[in-house]
Amino acid sequence: MSERRRSLFVLLIVVALIGGSLVAVLTRETKLGLDLQGGVQLVYHAEGTAAQPVVDADAMQRSIDLMQQRVNAFGVNEAELFQSGKDQIEVNLPGVEDAQAAADQVGSTAQLFFYDWEANILNDKCKTDPDLNANQRQPIVGLRNAVLQASKCTNVGVGAGLNPLADNSPGGPSEAAKKPRYYLFSKNTKKPLNDGQSYGSREDALDSIKPADRPNAEVVQVPAGVLVLREQRQTSDSPPPDRWWVIQDRPGLSGTDIKNPEQTADTNLGNEPIVTFNFTKKGRAAFHAITRKVAERGADNAFGGNPIETSQHFAIALDNELVSAPYINWKENPDGIDGATGAQISGSFTIKSAQDLAKILKIGALPLKLTEVSRSQVSATLGKQALDEGLKAGLAGFAIVALFLIMYYRVLGVIATVALCIYALYFYALVKLIPITLTLPGIAGLILTLGVAADANIVIFERVKEEVRAGRSVGTAIVTGYRKGLTAIIDANIVTFLVAFILFIIATAGVQGFAFTLGLGVIVSLFTAVLATQAILYSLRGTRLIRSKAALGAGEQRFKFRIDYMGKAKWFFSFSGVILLVCALAMSVNKINFGIDFDGGTRITAPLEKAVTVEQVRDAVGPLGLGDAKIQTLLNPTVGQHVVQISTKELPKGGSSAVTKVLQDKFGLSDTAGVEEIGPSFGQSVAKSALYAIIASLLVISIYMALRFEWKFAVPVLIAVMHDILIVAGVYALVGREVTTSTVAALLTILGYSLYDTIIVFDRIRENVPRMPSAAFSQIVNRSLSEVIVRSLATSFCTLLPVLALMLFGGETLRDFAFALLIGIASGTYSSIFIGTPVLQHWKEREPGFRARRLRIMDRLGYVPAFATTEQGGPVDVQPKDSSKRRSISAPPGQEVSASEFQEMVRDLGVEESKPTRQPAATGAGRPAGGRRARARAEAASGGGGGGSAAPSDGSASPDDGGDDGKERKPRNRRHGRPR
C-alpha cells in the first residue's frame, strides 16, 4: 500500500471513530463518582470468620454479592460495590445523605445465632448454671469488666464435637467465638478504644490505632469459645447499653437455618411489629431441641411457680448483640416448640427496625467479618462544585496547551491541536462507553494526559524541525522526523503505560481510578499523536500549507543551547544536594503533615446558616470531646456563606452525627454537612499499597530499560526517579502542606513522568553513540543534550501548563494534586538532564572503550573539549547495524542524507572537499543528493559519467525528496520507471 493510500486509510478510520465517538458522547450518560455528585462512600476491611477463615477472592466476591443485595433491598440506586486491594471492599452510595444509616445497613455482617440462654451464661467463676433463671442474673456493667471476666475463662473451650440435638448438650460447637478475640482499652481511662470493636489478633488490634497511641493501649484476649454479648436495647431508638453478658459460645442454630423472614404485626400484642420466619429442616429440628430443653428445665425449676416468671429462655444474638431473649412457657409448650409454623422475634421493634432485621436475615450472613475503615460523605453541592472546577481546569488546560503549540509550531501546532481535540473526544467517548466512573483524580489524570499527548507531537515536531534545519526538504523532514522520533515515543509511552498498569493492579481504589485514566490516555494518545497526526501530515506533504519552513516554526534557530552540560553538571549536582539536605533536615524537624487519609480521623465540613466565630463553634462542640479539635472557617461561596471545617482524631460511632446535630441546633445548617471518617488502618493500607506500587514499577521499568537500552541505562533512571520523589516529599515537609491520597497519586505520576523524560534523553544518547565512533562519552552526551534540550523544555512547559490550570481553577483537592505535580515535573525535567544523564556519563566513561577514547583525545589535545570536533570523531551518521538482508540498493524514504549534512560529515571527517569527482552521496544508497537539476549539474561537471556515484540510473529517487528546486516531481512507478 502506498503511503498516500495508507494515510488516507488511517484518516478514514480516524473520521469513522470521530463519528462513533460523537454518537457515544451524545447518547451515553457520564458516570460520575461520589466526589462529583455527592453521596456516601464506605470502605471495609475484610477478616476471616469461623465459617470462612481465609479471605480469598471467592469469599470477597460472595460478600460483595450479598452486600449488593442488601444495598438493593434498601433502595439505593446505582450503588457501586467493588473489591479494592486484597481485602477491602468499597461501597459507593450516590445520593445518600445519612452516612450513619447507610453504614449500619450496608456493613452489618448479620451473624445470627440462637442460644439456649441459661445453659450458656457464664458466671464470675466461668461456670454455667443452667438451673438459675436469667431473670435472676444481671449483665456486667462496662465492656472492660466483661472482657476481663471473659479473659479468665480459659477452660471453656470451643465444644468441638458437641451435638446440638443431644439431650444434655448446651448447643453445638463455637462459631462466633471459634477463635480468640482481642479487645483494646486505654490504659489511662480504662475505656474501650475503637468503639469496643474486637479483632482477630493482637497485631490487628494494635494496627487499628495510631502508633503514638499504642504505648497507652491495653489489649485483652478473650479465649476461644467465650463470647461477650451486648445486652439488648430497651427500644430500637435507645442508645446501645454498656451492659454485657459473658457466655460460652454453643449456638443451637444459626442464621443459615432459617428461611422466609418477614416483618409483620402481632395482633395479640396491639399490632406490635415483629419478625417472623420459618426454619429449614435442620433448623426446625435444632429449634425444637433447644426449646424442649429450655421448657423442661423451666418446668423442673418452677416448683409450681408462675410459668411466666419461672420459664427459661432462648436467646437470639445478632452480631454479638443480644436482639431478643424470649421465654418458653413450660406450661403451654412442655415439649418445646416444634417450629413447623416457624417462629417470631418480638419486642423493642419499630416497624422500620423490624423491616431492617427481616431484610438482613433474608439476605443472610456475610461470609467475612467486615470492619469499617473509612467513611466519607460529600454533599451534592460540593460534588457539583468539584465537577465544575474540574471541567473548568480541563478546558483551561486544553486551551493553553493548544495556544502554546500553535504559537511555537505554527501549522504543525494547528495539526497537533486538531489531534488533541480528537484525543479528547475519543477519550471522553471511552469514558462513557466502558464506562469509567469519573472522579476528581480521574479528571486530573485526563488533564495530565493532555500534556502527554501533546508531548508525543513535540518529540516528533522537534525532530522534523531538526531535519528541516539540517537542509532536508519539508516532505523528507516529516518522514525522517517520524521515523527517528517514533522509537523514543514508543519506549516512553510503554514505560508510562507499565507504571499505570502496575498502579492499577496494586494501588487502592482512589489511585486505581487515576491509573486507569492514565493508562487509557497513553494508548489513545499513541493513536492520535502518532498515527492520526502522521496521516494528516503525510496527506499535507507537498501542499502549500507546510511548504515553507516558517510555517513549521523551523526558521533559523535564534539561540542554540550549546552548553557544556557535563562540565557544569557538578554545580547542578551540588544544587540538588543542597536542596535535598535542606529538605531532609526540614523533614526531621517539621515531619510530614499527613492528612486524615493517613493518620485517621474525622473531618466535618458544615455550611452554616449564620456567621460564627471559631470560638463559638468550639464552645458548641466542646462538650462532645472536641475541645482540642482543629476548627477553621472556610471561604467557599458555592457551598455556603459561612462554612466551618472541624478536623479531629477519629470519633466514636455516631460521633459525627452528634456533631452535625449540635451544629444544626445551634447555628442551623444550610446544606448537608460533608463528613470524612478515616480509620488509621485505611491510611496505612493506602501508603503500603503505594509503596509496593512504586517498588514494582521501578523493578519492571529497570528490566524494560535493561532490555531496550542496556542495563547501565537503567540505574541512572532509577536514581533520577528517586531524586524526584524525595524532592517532592522534602518540599512537602518544608512548606508543611498536607499529604493526602491525591499526593500519593501525584507522586506516582511524577514517577511516570520522570521516567518518560529521562528515556527521551537517553534515547538520543543511544542514537548518537554509533554516530560518534571516536568521541568521548561526555561529548556524545553534550551533543545529545544540546539536540534534545528544546524538546525537553517545550514538553515540560506543555505539561506544566495544564498543571497550572489545575492549580488555578481546580479547587482545593485538585490544587493539592497540582502542587505535587508542579514540583515533580520541574524536578523530573531537571533530573533527566542534570542528574540521570551525568550519572550515566560518569559510569559509562569508566568502560575501557570510552576510557581509551578519552585518553586518545587527551593525548592529542591535552584536554577533552565539551563538544566533539573532527579530530575526536565528531558526529558522523552511522546507521545502526542492520542484520536483515538488504533487499534494495535504494535508500528507503527518509533515510537519505541532505547536502548540508553531507558537507558537515565531510568537514567532521577531515576529508578534502576539493576533490572534483566526489559528489554528496546518500547514506548507503549511493544516490546523488538533490533533485534532477542538481544531478544534471553534477553529471555535467563530472563529464556525464556519474562522477563516481553509485546511484542507480533507473530513477528510483525517493518520492519524499522534494529537492532543492522546490518543484514536486511526479512519483514514478518503481517497477517500470514511468510516470503514473
Partner: protein
C-alpha cells in the same frame, strides 16, 4: 520516617562526590550505594536496630545519618583505590 530522612541525607551528600576523583569502587553508582547503605546502616546501629517513627524523628535523626554516609563513602573509596592499585601492579 527516619528511614526516609536517612535516605535523603545519604542521597544529598552523595551529590557532592562529583567533586572527588572517580576512585570509588563501581564509580558514581558505587558511591551512591555506599552513601545510602552507610546512612541507613549507621542510623540503624545508632538506634539499636529500630527505625524511629514519625513522632520520634527529630533534627538529630537527620544529623546522625551524616557520619554513616561519610563512612559508607569512605569504604567504597577505599575499595576503589585498592582495585586501582591492584590493576596498576604488573602481572
Amino acid at each position: 520516617m527516619a528511614l526516609l530522612v536517612w535516605t535523603m541525607v545519604g542521597l544529598a551528600i552523595w551529590h557532592f562526590t562529583v567533586f572527588l576523583p572517580d576512585n570509588f569502587y563501581g564509580g558514581i553508582v558505587g558511591a551512591f550505594c555506599g552513601a545510602l547503605l552507610g546512612s541507613i546502616i549507621f542510623g540503624l546501629i545508632v538506634n539499636l536496630g529500630s527505625i524511629p517513627g514519625e513522632h520520634d524523628t527529630d533534627l538529630m535523626t537527620g544529623v546522625e545519618a551524616i557520619p554513616g554516609t561519610l563512612i559508607g563513602l569512605g569504604i567504597v573509596w577505599w575499595l576503589g583505590v585498592r582495585q586501582i592499585n591492584a590493576e596498576a601492579q604488573p602481572a
